[in-house]
C-alpha cells in the first residue's frame, strides 16, 4: 500500500477533525483570495484611471518642467520632434498638452485655476474627457419640481434633497443616487430630463470655447453659455488675458480638481499664453505597455530627443499615488498575515493533539517493523492533504465570486460614494481576475503545513518504542 493511500485512510478515520482543520484553512484562503482580489483589482483600476487616463506611461517634457511647472519651462513642438517621437516603433500617437495657471473670474468672483490646453480628439485616446461633461444637475429649482411631481416617491425626493446641487455626467449615476432602479430608466428619465438637464457641447481645436470643472462653475456662478474671463502671466512675462465662452461643465470624480480646472484647445491656449508653437508636455500613446517595453522605449528616446527636453516615466509622475497604494497594500497584507498566523496555530494545535493521541499507534507500528521514515512520510501526506483540501475548497468557492466580481464591479451608492470621491477614489469595487496571487496563497498554506509537520516528524523519528507502547 502506498504512503498516500494510507494517509488518506488515516484521515477518514477521524473525518470530523479532518474537516474542521481543512475548514479553517478554507476560511483563511477564501478570505485572503477575495480580499486580495479586491485590493489588487482596485490598484489596477487606479493605475488605469490615473496613469492611462491622465499622465500616460511616458511624456516628453522640457527638462525642468516636472520640477517647476511654469509656462516658461516649455519646449518648441516642431516637426523634427514629432518625427523623432513617431519614428519610434512603440509610439502610436502623440498627445500634445500645454498646462499652466491663470486667474479665472466672472462677475465679482476670482479664483486661481489650472489651464489644460489639450487636443480634444487625441486626448480621447487616454480618457474620453468629453464623457465627463455634466448632463444633469439637481438644482434647487429641479428639486422643487420633483417634490411637486406626484410621480416621485418620498424616498426619491429625500435622496434628491440629500444631493442638492450635485452634477451627474450620466443617467445611471443620477438614477442610482436618487435610489431609482436602472431598469426603470425608461419610466423616470423622460420625467427627470426636463427638470435636471443642463447644456453641454464639445470643444474643438481653433474654437475658443472652454470646459470648466463643476466646482469652479459653482464658485464663479457660471453656466454653459456664460463667459469666463482669464487673466494670467504668459510666456516670458507677457500678459495673458482673454474671454472664453463656457461650452460645458466637467463633473470630475476628484472634487479638489473640479474646483480649479479649465480645459481648452491647446492651440487656443498657445495664443492665450503667447507661447507660439510651444508645449509643456507631450504624452506618448504606446503600442505596448509592459514595464519592459516602457523602459526600453524610454531608453531609446532619451538619447534621441532634443536637448533641454527629457522623457519622464509614469513612476516619477505618479509617486504619490504609488505610495498611497503601497501603504494600502502593506496594511492589507498585514491583515491577511494575521489571519494566516491564527490559522497556522489552529493547525499546529490539531497536529499536536493528533500526535499525542496516536502515540501508542505509532509505537505499535514501529514495533512491528514499520520504518520510521515511512511513518513520517505518511503523517506528512496527511497534513498536505488537509492543506490541499482547504486550499482547493477555498479556491473553488472564491473563484465564482471573483469571476462574478470581475464582470460586475460593485458600485457604491449615496453618501459612501461621495465620501470616497472626496478622497480621490472612484466609488467602485473592482476585482482582479485569477492571477499570481492564487499561487501565493498556496505557498503560504504550504509553509504553514511544513511548520506544523516539524513536531510530529521529530516525535516519530525519536520514538522510543517501549515508552510509546505504554502510552
Amino acid at each position: 500500500m502506498t504512503n498516500s493511500k494510507l494517509a488518506w485512510r488515516n484521515l477518514s478515520r477521524n473525518k470530523r477533525r479532518t474537516l474542521i482543520t481543512a475548514a479553517s484553512v478554507f476560511f483563511a484562503v477564501f478570505f485572503a483570495l477575495v480580499m486580495r482580489s479586491i485590493q489588487l483589482g482596485s490598484y489596477d483600476y487606479m493605475y488605469k484611471n490615473v496613469i492611462e487616463s491622465y499622465s500616460g506611461y511616458l511624456q516628453l517634457q522640457q527638462t525642468d518642467w516636472w520640477y517647476e511647472k511654469t509656462i516658461n519651462n516649455s519646449f518648441e513642438y516642431d516637426s523634427e520632434i514629432r518625427e523623432t517621437l513617431t519614428n519610434d516603433e512603440n509610439v502610436l500617437e502623440l498627445i500634445p498638452r500645454l498646462e499652466s495657471f491663470s486667474l479665472a473670474s466672472s462677475g465679482a468672483n476670482t479664483k486661481g485655476v489650472m489651464i489644460m490646453g489639450i487636443d480634444p480628439v487625441k486626448e480621447s485616446l487616454l480618457s474620453d474627457i468629453s464623457k465627463k461633461v455634466a448632463k444633469y444637475q439637481l438644482t434647487p429649482e429641479a428639486i422643487e419640481k420633483i417634490t411637486i411631481d406626484e410621480n416621485f416617491s418620498e424616498k426619491i425626493i429625500k435622496n434628491a434633497e440629500l444631493f442638492e446641487g450635485n452634477y451627474f455626467n450620466n443617467k445611471e449615476r443620477l438614477l442610482t443616487d436618487l435610489g431609482i432602479n436602472i431598469d426603470d430608466a425608461d419610466k423616470y428619465m423622460p420625467l427627470l430630463e426636463p427638470y435636471c438637464s443642463i447644456e453641454g457641447s464639445q470643444i474643438e481645436l481653433g474654437d475658443p470655447g472652454v470646459w470648466i470643472g463643476t466646482g469652479l462653475a459653482d464658485y464663479l456662478l457660471l453656466n454653459p453659455g456664460d463667459t469666463l474671463v482669464l487673466m494670467g502671466q504668459g510666456y516670458h512675462g507677457t500678459t495673458a488675458a482673454g474671454k472664453f465662452p463656457v461650452r460645458g461643465l466637467l463633473e470630475l470624480p476628484v472634487s479638489e480638481i473640479s474646483g480649479r480646472i479649465v480645459y481648452m484647445p491647446y492651440d487656443i491656449a498657445q495664443q492665450f499664453y503667447n507661447t507660439g508653437n510651444q508645449l509643456t508636455s507631450v504624452v506618448l500613446h504606446l503600442k505596448n505597455n509592459d514595464d519592459r517595453a516602457i523602459e526600453d522605449t524610454k531608453e531609446r528616446l532619451d538619447d534621441s530627443v532634443p536637448p533641454k527636453t527629457r522623457i519622464t516615466d509614469w513612476k516619477e509622475m505618479n509617486e504619490v499615488v504609488i505610495q498611497q497604494m503601497e501603504a494600502d497594500n502593506v496594511s492589507g497584507m498585514f491583515m491577511i498575515g494575521i489571519l494566516y498566523i491564527v490559522i497556522a496555530f489552529g493547525i499546529i494545535g490539531t497536529v499536536l493533539m493528533m500526535t499525542a493521541e496516536r502515540k501508542r499507534e505509532f509505537g505499535v507500528l514501529v514495533a512491528i517493523g514499520m520504518q520510521k521514515k515511512k511513518l513520517a512520510s505518511i503523517i506528512s501526506y496527511e497534513m498536505i492533504f488537509i492543506g490541499l483540501l482547504g486550499v482547493i475548497a477555498g479556491a473553488l468557492v472564491s473563484i465564482p465570486i471573483i469571476l462574478y466580481g470581475v464582470e460586475h464591479p460593485l458600485i457604491f451608492k449615496g453618501e459612501i460614494a461621495h465620501m470616497m470621491e472626496e478622497y480621490d477614489f472612484e466609488p467602485k469595487l473592482v476585482f482582479e481576475s485569477i492571477n499570481l496571487y492564487f499561487i501565493w496563497q498556496l505557498l503560504v498554506v504550504g509553509i504553514m503545513v511544513l511548520i506544523s509537520l516539524i513536531h510530529p516528524v521529530r516525535k516519530i523519528l525519536n520514538i522510543k518504542v517501549v515508552n510509546a507502547l505504554r502510552a
Partner: protein
C-alpha cells in the same frame, strides 16, 4: 461547582490548552494592535483637523463659504464674541477674515486662501503656532515694520522660498552627522548648486550616489540641504471690498509643518488688521467666528444653542464642516469590529477542534457522569464553560499583551516614513501613535466570550448524544 470543574478541566491537558490559548492570544493581540494603528491614524487626522484646520464650530454669514464673497461680513464682532463666550461649554473664540488671492514670489505664483487672524486669540483655539519649523522664525512673535505672513512648508517649497542647496555649510553638517567621507566626496562636485525643488534635488542625489547610500543617508542629506532664505518676501494679490485688484508685500514670519500637505499648500496667515486695512473691511466687522469647545462630543448641542442665538448666520459643527471626516470615524469603528470578528471566526476552528477532542477523549468520564445522574443541561454548560474559559484566558492575555505594547508605542509611535508623502497628501500623518479606547477592550472581551460559547455548541451537542451505557463501555 460546574464552573470550578470546567476551570479545572481546562488545565488537565496543559500543552493542548496552551496551544489554543496562545493562538487566541496572538490573534487578539495582532487584531487589537492593527485596530490601534487604524484608530491612531484616524484619531490623529481628526485631531489635526480640529486643532489646526477647522476647530469645533464655525459661524459665518449664510452662503459665505460657497465662494468667500468678501462682502458677507458679520457686524459688531466684539459683541458676537462676547455672546459666544458666554455660552456654557465654549472654551475660546477667534475671529477671522478670509479672502482668496494669489501668492507670488519672483519666480512662482499660486492660488491661496488668505486668512486674517489675531495671533493671541488664535493660540487659544488652534495649536498651529506650535508647528513652526525650528529656524524659520515664529508665529508673529517678532514685531517688525513689515507686513508678516505665516505659511506652510509645502507652499514655501512651491514658491521657492525653501529650496535645496549644496554648499560648504551643508557639507559640514553632513560631517557632523557622521556621513562617511566617501559619500560626501561624491557630493562635493555639486558645491554651489541650488535646486528649485525637492524632486530635482532628490534626482541629482540619486544619480550621484549608490542606491545603498541614498537609502542610508538620503534623509540626512535632504535635511542638511534644506535651506530657508531668511527675510524671504512674498507678494499677495487679491480683490478688495470694492472689487479693485490690490496687493501687498509680506515678509515670512515663520513656516509651519503639519501632516496635511493640502492645508500647507493652500493657506497664508496674516494679521487681521493688515488684511482689513488692505481690503477696506471695517475694523468692527469679521467674516467668521471659530469656536473651540471643552468637550467635542457636545458640539451638536452647543451648535444648536448658537443657532438659536444667531438665526441669521450659518452655524456648523465639525461634523457638518467635514462630513467625510465624521463619516470615516463612524465607518472605522464598524470596520474594526468586522475585522475582529473575522479573526475570532478563524480562531473558532481551533477551539472547536480542541473541544471536540476534549469530548471524545472523555467519553467514558462523561458517560459515568450521566450514569450517576448529572443532567444534560449541566453537561452542556460544563463543556460550554470550559470552552469560554479557554478563549477568555487567551483573550485576557492578548489584551494584556496589547496593553503593554500600546504603552510602549504610545510615546514613540510607529513611523511609516517611506509612505509619508502619499499619506500626507491625504491629510494623514505617517508617524502613527496607536490608540485603543477602553470600551473597545470591553467589546473584545464580550466577543471572545461569544466566540467561546458558539464554538462549544457543536462539541457539547456531541457530548449530549452520548449514550451512557455505550460510553461507559469505551476504553
Amino acid at each position: 461547582m460546574i464552573l470550578l470543574t470546567a476551570w479545572k478541566n481546562v488545565w488537565r491537558n496543559k500543552s493542548r490548552s496552551l496551544v489554543v490559548i496562545t493562538s487566541i492570544t496572538i490573534g487578539i493581540f495582532a487584531g487589537i494592535f492593527a485596530v490601534g494603528l487604524m484608530n491612531g491614524t484616524m484619531e490623529q487626522r481628526v485631531d489635526a483637523a480640529l486643532n489646526q484646520e477647522i476647530s469645533h464650530i464655525q459661524i459665518n454669514q449664510k452662503e459665505f463659504t460657497d465662494n468667500y464673497n468678501i462682502k458677507l461680513l458679520i457686524d459688531n464682532k466684539n459683541q458676537l464674541k462676547q455672546m459666544i463666550n458666554n455660552v456654557d461649554g465654549v472654551e475660546a473664540t477667534t475671529l477671522r477674515t478670509l479672502i482668496t488671492g494669489i501668492a507670488n514670489t519672483a519666480t512662482k505664483s499660486t492660488g491661496v486662501q488668505i486668512i486674517g487672524v489675531n495671533p493671541e486669540n488664535e493660540k487659544q483655539v488652534f495649536n498651529l503656532h506650535s508647528k513652526t519649523i525650528a529656524g524659520t522664525g515664529s508665529y508673529f512673535e517678532k514685531e517688525t515694520r513689515y507686513n508678516q505672513a505665516y505659511i506652510g512648508e509645502e507652499l514655501a517649497k512651491e514658491l521657492n522660498i525653501i529650496r535645496y542647496r549644496i554648499d560648504n555649510k551643508m557639507i559640514d553638517r553632513l560631517r557632523k552627522q557622521e556621513v562617511p567621507e566617501e559619500t560626501i566626496s561624491k557630493l562635493e562636485p555639486f558645491i554651489g548648486e541650488r535646486f528649485p525643488s525637492q524632486k530635482a534635488f532628490s534626482r541629482t542625489i540619486e544619480k550621484a550616489l549608490s542606491e545603498k547610500e541614498t537609502a542610508n543617508y538620503g534623509h540626512i542629506i535632504l535635511d542638511a540641504a534644506w535651506s530657508f532664505r531668511e527675510r524671504s518676501k512674498l507678494t499677495l494679490t487679491f480683490v478688495d471690498k470694492n472689487n479693485i485688484q490690490t496687493g501687498a508685500m509680506f515678509r515670512i514670519s515663520g513656516i509651519f509643518d503639519v501632516s496635511n500637505s493640502m492645508f500647507e499648500k493652500r493657506n497664508v496667515f496674516i494679521r487681521n488688521e493688515v488684511l482689513k486695512n488692505l481690503t477696506g473691511i471695517e475694523p468692527d466687522k469679521t467674516h467668521q467666528a471659530i469656536i473651540k469647545i471643552a468637550d467635542r462630543d457636545q458640539s451638536k448641542e452647543i451648535t444648536g444653542k448658537l443657532e438659536a442665538m444667531f438665526p441669521d448666520y450659518q452655524t456648523r459643527h465639525w461634523k457638518e464642516l467635514s462630513p467625510d471626516l465624521a463619516m470615516m470615524t463612524g465607518m472605522i469603528e464598524k470596520f474594526n469590529i468586522v475585522f475582529l470578528i473575522i479573526i475570532l471566526a478563524a480562531l473558532s476552528f481551533g477551539i472547536i477542534n480542541t473541544m471536540l477532542m476534549v469530548v471524545l477523549e472523555r467519553t467514558k468520564e462523561l458517560g459515568m457522569l450521566t450514569a450517576i445522574g448529572m443532567n444534560k443541561r449541566r453537561v452542556f454548560s460544563m463543556i460550554m464553560a470550559e470552552s469560554v474559559f479557554l478563549s477568555l484566558v487567551g483573550g485576557v492575555v492578548g489584551i494584556i499583551v496589547s496593553k503593554i505594547m500600546l504603552l510602549f508605542t504610545a510615546n514613540t509611535g510607529i513611523n511609516f516614513a517611506s509612505a509619508a508623502q502619499g499619506l500626507e497628501e491625504m491629510g494623514f500623518s505617517s508617524h502613527i501613535y496607536p490608540t485603543i479606547s477602553n470600551t473597545f477592550f470591553i467589546t473584545v472581551t464580550i466577543l471572545v466570550i461569544i466566540t467561546g460559547m458558539l464554538s462549544s455548541i457543536y462539541p457539547a451537542i456531541k457530548a449530549l448524544r452520548l449514550d451512557p451505557s455505550d460510553a461507559l463501555r469505551t476504553e
